[in-house]
């Protein structure tokens, strides 16, 4: 475990204070963009825990995100649960989904698991459309309660949520769990021979990743005021999560947050070119992946050799 130099720690603290004070200067539009980016950052960081550390190819991050979002949205809209309780329900739904994905992950690897996770998203999407009566179908489900109507408050919630989640995920990745996951991801037999129970750790990794994905999905629903397939389930959202994590730098956790903010802000800046913005974002990501596989964080000098 490497120690972080004091100068960097100080720079980080200053940066966070500036971030927290942002609402004083920025207008509602910029705050809105960043709020979305912060929730997205948690999606990407959770994904990185599974891929970067456990080596699990999860092509369906939106399966977990969607379960959290719809679990929370439906328990608020249909059962009338208060927002905090609804968020807990959403997170539990996502954890259940994560454990369900972990079971095939114990037996499958690489493309097979990738396909299963991809199919899980398609099936969730179909289920939402089929049970349109309770899920709102393709139009989406609007929730009666929201976190706050003030964009500054929403921004601070999202920032705090991202920082706490990021810190927990980062500590997990640097703990023995992260090390064992990495070892098992690279050579399961060797890890088992050293006496580590790879099965238990993998299930735990899926559960933790699902917990944060689901929480972020649930928060996002109460920020947007609606849960819809195009916002939290669609494959293209999942692709963006993966792009963000790889773009920022995989196996770093923080990279996911940097990649997400970069991706969302770039998407907004490119809005004037309209339709082509997705093309340009995909192109940037492709160039980074082919030329700099370690992502944006990998471009920094003297990073720890992971």
């Amino acid at each position: 475990m490497s120690t972080i130099p004091k100068s960097r720690l100080a720079a980080l603290a200053v940066f966070l204070i500036v971030l927290a004070l942002f609402p004083l200067g920025a207008n509602g539009y910029i705050l809105g963009v960043l709020t979305t980016a912060f929730y997205f950052a948690v999606f990407a960081m959770s994904w990185d825990l599974l891929f970067g550390y456990a080596g699990e190819v999860n092509f369906g991050p939106t399966f977990l995100i969607g379960l959290g979002a719809y679990g929370a949205g439906m328990s608020n809209a249909l059962l009338g649960l208060p927002v905090p309780l609804a968020i807990v329900v959403g997170a539990l739904a996502a954890v259940a989904g994560g454990v369900a994905l972990a079971i095939p992950a114990l037996r499958l690897s690489g493309p097979y698991l990738g396909l299963i996770t991809l199919v899980s998203v398609l099936l969730l999407q179909q289920a939402i459309v089929i049970f349109a009566g309770v899920t709102g179908g393709e139009i989406g489900l609007s929730v009666p309660d929201v976190l706050s109507i003030s964009s500054a408050a929403n921004y601070e919630y999202a920032l705090a949520f991202m920082l706490v989640s990021g810190l927990i995920l980062f500590l997990i990745s640097r703990s023995s769990l992260g090390m064992i996951l990495q070892a098992a991801g690279q050579d399961q037999v060797a890890a088992a021979a050293l006496g580590f129970n790879a099965t238990r750790h993998k299930i735990l990794a899926f559960a933790v990743s699902a917990l944060f994905s689901g929480l972020a999905g649930a928060f996002l629903v109460f920020y947007l005021g609606t849960a819809s397939v195009s916002a939290v389930v669609d494959i293209s959202i999942g692709v963006r999560v993966i792009i963000a994590a790889v773009l920022g730098g995989r196996r770093t956790i923080i990279g996911g947050a940097i990649g997400s903010v970069f991706l969302i802000v770039a998407g907004e800046l490119l809005r004037p070119i309209g339709q082509l913005s997705t093309f340009v974002v995909a192109l940037i990501a492709l160039v980074v992946i082919v030329l700099f596989p370690d992502g944006l964080l990998g471009l920094l000098p003297h990073r720890r050799g992971a």
Binding site: F51, G55, V57, F59, P104, R107, L108, G110, P111, Y112, G114, L115, I116, L118, V119, S120, L122, L123, Q126, V129, I130, Q186, I235, S236, V239, I242, I243, V246, Q275, L276, T278, F279, A282, L283, A285, L286, I289, V290, F292, P293, D294
Partner: protein, 291 residues
């Protein structure tokens, strides 16, 4: 009557699925690459064929040939510009290469989809049938084009079989899929074999794309679905297994057709997806996989 209709339509769709998925499984079998830009390549072929025929007035045959040619070029760009640089990159660790290729080709597919939708809008198009008219089979009016499509697809697959099993270069392909290192030791250039596989793949994807465009229509929104169904068929049949791919293509094609006719067209993908999940849980290597 309905049963015969399902039988005929299902056959044509399944045959096209088989043709499309065959190239996908071929490059996996020989070079270990899963190309997630597959759907994009198929749609490029159909859109070019449609554009040259309908908008520029070159006629369906020139259009179809140009579509296949452009698809071939796009496949070679995929290989030379994306897959090869990643495989040769020292910065990508060997055990992560597969995921990098998957992610990069997925992005490439997104780029193809977006540029097609920018150039031709995302509204669906239909490639003109190469042969017009209908014929009655056991009382069911069937477009001749549908029979033509199935015939062309089977002819192409037959030619592929001959190529792989009866020619020198085909044996090299087989050898590369079984033991690439031994082939290198015998003095064959693996790079040239891979290039050759990608040429075959480009042709197969192009032909399948144009034919599918004249049967089910095409458009930039079809890209993810086509990639998904090829991936599904190939995994269901067993990655790298040609006969498995054929069988799986017919299973998926018929399940989809039956669902579309008897239940609801909007649910056509669901039963095949559920079947896929069940098969992967029970038998991860697929129906005829060798793993």
């Amino acid at each position: 009557m309905l049963a015969i209709q399902i039988l005929i339509d299902g056959f044509a769709i399944s045959t096209l699925y088989a043709l499309g998925a065959l190239g996908f499984t071929l490059i996996f079998g020989v070079s270990g690459v899963l190309n997630l830009a597959h759907g994009g390549l198929m749609v490029i072929a159909a859109m070019i064929a449609w554009y040259l025929d309908t908008s520029l007035g070159f006629g369906p045959y020139v259009g179809a040939l140009a579509g296949v040619a452009v698809c071939l070029v796009a496949a070679l760009v995929t290989y030379g510009g994306i897959v090869r640089p990643i495989e040769n990159s020292r910065a990508v660790p060997a055990h992560e290469r597969e995921l990098f290729v998957l992610t990069a080709t997925l992005l490439w597919g997104v780029m193809i989809q977006e540029s097609l939708s920018y150039a031709f809008t995302n509204s669906p198009i239909t490639v003109q049938p190469l042969i017009a008219g209908t014929v009655s089979i056991l009382g069911v009016r069937t477009p001749i084009n549908e029979i033509f499509i199935a015939a062309v697809a089977w002819a192409v697959m037959g030619a592929l079989w001959l190529l792989v099993n009866r020619t020198q270069v085909g044996r090299r392909l087989l050898a590369a899929s079984i033991n690439p290192r031994a082939l290198t030791l015998l003095g064959f250039e693996l790079d040239r074999i891979y290039l050759f596989v990608w040429v075959i793949y480009g042709l197969l994807a192009g032909i399948a794309g144009v034919l599918l465009g004249s049967f089910l229509g095409s458009g930039s929104d079809y890209v993810p679905g086509l990639t998904g169904s090829a991936f599904t068929i190939v995994v269901l049949g067993g990655l790298g297994s040609v006969s498995g791919t054929l069988i799986a293509a017919y299973i998926v094609g018929y399940i989809e057709t039956v669902t579309a006719y008897l239940v609801s067209p909007s649910l056509r993908e669901v039963p095949a997806l559920i079947l896929l999940v069940v098969v992967i849980y029970m038998r991860p290597q697929g129906l005829l996989g060798r793993r």
